[in-house]
Symmetry: C3
Subunit: 338 residues, 3 copies
Amino acid sequence: MIVMRVDEIAALVAGIVEGDGSREIWGAASLENAGPGDLCFAEGSRAVTRAAHSAAGCILVPEGVRVPGHTTIAVASPKLAFIRAAARLVPLAATLPGIHPSAVVSPSARLAADVSVGPQAVIEDDVEVGGGSRIGPGVVLGSGSRVGSACVLHPGVTIYPGAWLGDRVVIHAGAVIGSDGFGYVFAEGRYNKFPQIGKVVIEDDVEIGSNTTVDRGSLGTTRIGQGTKIDNLCQIAHNVSIGRHCVIAGMTGISGSTEVGDYVVMGGQVAVGDHVRIEERAVVGGASVIPTGKVIRKGTMVWGMPARPLQEMKRLHGHLSRLPELARRLKRMEDQCK
Amino acid sequence: MIVMRVDEIAALVAGIVEGDGSREIWGAASLENAGPGDLCFAEGSRAVTRAAHSAAGCILVPEGVRVPGHTTIAVASPKLAFIRAAARLVPLAATLPGIHPSAVVSPSARLAADVSVGPQAVIEDDVEVGGGSRIGPGVVLGSGSRVGSACVLHPGVTIYPGAWLGDRVVIHAGAVIGSDGFGYVFAEGRYNKFPQIGKVVIEDDVEIGSNTTVDRGSLGTTRIGQGTKIDNLCQIAHNVSIGRHCVIAGMTGISGSTEVGDYVVMGGQVAVGDHVRIEERAVVGGASVIPTGKVIRKGTMVWGMPARPLQEMKRLHGHLSRLPELARRLKRMEDQCK
Amino acid sequence: MIVMRVDEIAALVAGIVEGDGSREIWGAASLENAGPGDLCFAEGSRAVTRAAHSAAGCILVPEGVRVPGHTTIAVASPKLAFIRAAARLVPLAATLPGIHPSAVVSPSARLAADVSVGPQAVIEDDVEVGGGSRIGPGVVLGSGSRVGSACVLHPGVTIYPGAWLGDRVVIHAGAVIGSDGFGYVFAEGRYNKFPQIGKVVIEDDVEIGSNTTVDRGSLGTTRIGQGTKIDNLCQIAHNVSIGRHCVIAGMTGISGSTEVGDYVVMGGQVAVGDHVRIEERAVVGGASVIPTGKVIRKGTMVWGMPARPLQEMKRLHGHLSRLPELARRLKRMEDQCK
């Protein structure tokens, strides 16, 4: 357990203490669940009101805000300060470096000295793993794959042969990186598999959710840009290129050869066709459908099936709701004009 | 192989035999595939008609129904009686208690005496497993997790550290319980991960399908209520609370902090936004989309994108189908009134 | 590395060399990425134009096409010829036959002599595996399951007890074959599980994507027909029957007892209800929704939610887009006729 004094936390987040700076804090919680050892944050006026009733030991608040009877730290962004302090107070469970005796590691694999390899993991020939990376139980690193430094691969992740992961990449349980893309040519009464021999590159600071799948390129490369975060059960097809610092929520699927620019935000269960281009900073609402070949322009917000600009779609849905009324009015007109 | 006499089955399901009570039965099948050793059921008039042509050794029928030339057992609910009898006739394959020598079990794990741990499983520090539970091949139980009694974890399931499972929980292959939720704060040009350090609780008698993912709470708890059944490839996000005795069909996704009441029924591929409230006994049709923050009232049936009350949605779809005709009629009116 | 002369490749694909038949080729690439050792293909006039600028060592082109300054092989179908040549030039990584010492194989399993079983794999009692099959790391073959010859099971695949796979079946990482279907009967305030004790049969030449799930039949059989290809993260429910030579793109879900004919093509994220019949050679557009019990006729193309014939759906979407205009026109009429 890590214990910090309130004034130590304040120093970490460059905030100003109001109340008892010597108080000890050893956890992080929501306002509702917090106890006297917990740090919380209150952002927005409703949260500040709720903060008054919290049992928290210390509350991060916006500058200029006080919560009578509570020890607070005032900062520019309470939520961001909470993220930073919580990372210190509640660190990831430590894993001792070393290779578990049940793991199977090829003699030709090159593992940095402080790598941790969990039980039942399999590391094939010519794999490279950088310093401080944690390869969880049952993870399989296919031959020639490369995992950078300070990565965390949770249990049961499969990295196909030749896949490349940058530094600080986090991959959750059961995700699959580098499986064959879905490409066939129909001839002579059957589907003939097109070669799926391209690369897959996951850049630095990417996080990928549980049971998500990312296919390798067919002849080219599937690429997930630096800092992009992908939720659980997403599917990224062959030759897709995703930019930097995107967020893609759960169950979204992106079909082959689609390009997604930097800072794109996609809701959950979005279906993106092949050869689509989603330009930078576009926002795609949850459950939208973007047909094959479509271009979503820079910075636009779209929604629906098929996706249209959000305002247009809302107007359309309004009209749609009034369709029964429209039909009645037309009938009345027809009756009048007979 | 388990062999039961027809009158033994009748006693088990409190039914009345018509025909040969001494007949021996050793299997369970559909009316179409059944042979002379099989038990079947016929519910509804069409099934009863088909029953006459079945080669089944014994047929469970509604009270008052006879199937000439067949041995039958009359019961109030043939399907339910079939479930009970089949559980006896075709039990789950027995697994001998014991820890397979290839499994890796921490010395600090507390396993009840009759637990079965399959090959290549990994049980980390301070895990607790209750009596009669079966931990399948390659399952990973993270440190501090708790599995109740009489649970079945199929191959390759991952339970993240600290997750709690009640009694008689069944989790199918590849499912992941307790992975990090998808929460980030954008600042200084990148996404900063919000702490995902909450709990996940799977209550008694829950069944979870293959490759389904259930995230832990961020600061709070993700909870799946007693008796709820979740199909394959579903995604349950952080801080979601699902009530008791719900059924959620395949590929449905439920976003963060959504609350689902008791006895809710959801079809497949439903997309539920965050902070939604679906009240008890509501029914959500397959492929529906429920936007962020929406409330679905107690007992209502909804469908569509976005979801509306079923009757309203059907009416709307009817109007939609007649839209081309509506346009023609308006054009005619315009031409007349020129 | 495999090296072939251009005229050897030409002989393999029955093509006519233009240029240097003695040139050596040792790779396959796209026109854009190719180097002097690579084989490419150019199909369609745009690709042929791009071919002129490629650094490829040899280009497969349509009959009658020349690319000045390049060595070409003219064939009836360049893409198909490329598939065949690439399979020879870039074969799957060889795997030595043999059982890895960390694998756990039941003494009652019957494995052909040249089977390869990877590290940490588990092969339970009475399993049968045919000649040349590769069982990847961490794969679990449940008791009594059967894998044909020349199959490839990638890491972490789970085959439930009793499932049957034909010959040359490829299953990608994390896929689950034969888990319990989702069937319950509500009685006495809770869901009672209907027996899920049927079979699952994956016929010859089927390929199944990463983390896809295929449930066993409840009492009957779930069947995937010969040559059918299923992408990542699809869900095939109990008692579904899929014909031969279908392609089903990623994240598509098919509900219980649905029948899909031969040569059906389905886009990604399609939701198919239960007891649907999709007749042979039908085409279902991406993200379509097919309600319970619906029949899609032989050879028709459908799209939308709910799915309709493609032309009708396009017309409807056109009308939908003009709905605001329609409303304005009606208003104008009403104002005129006052």
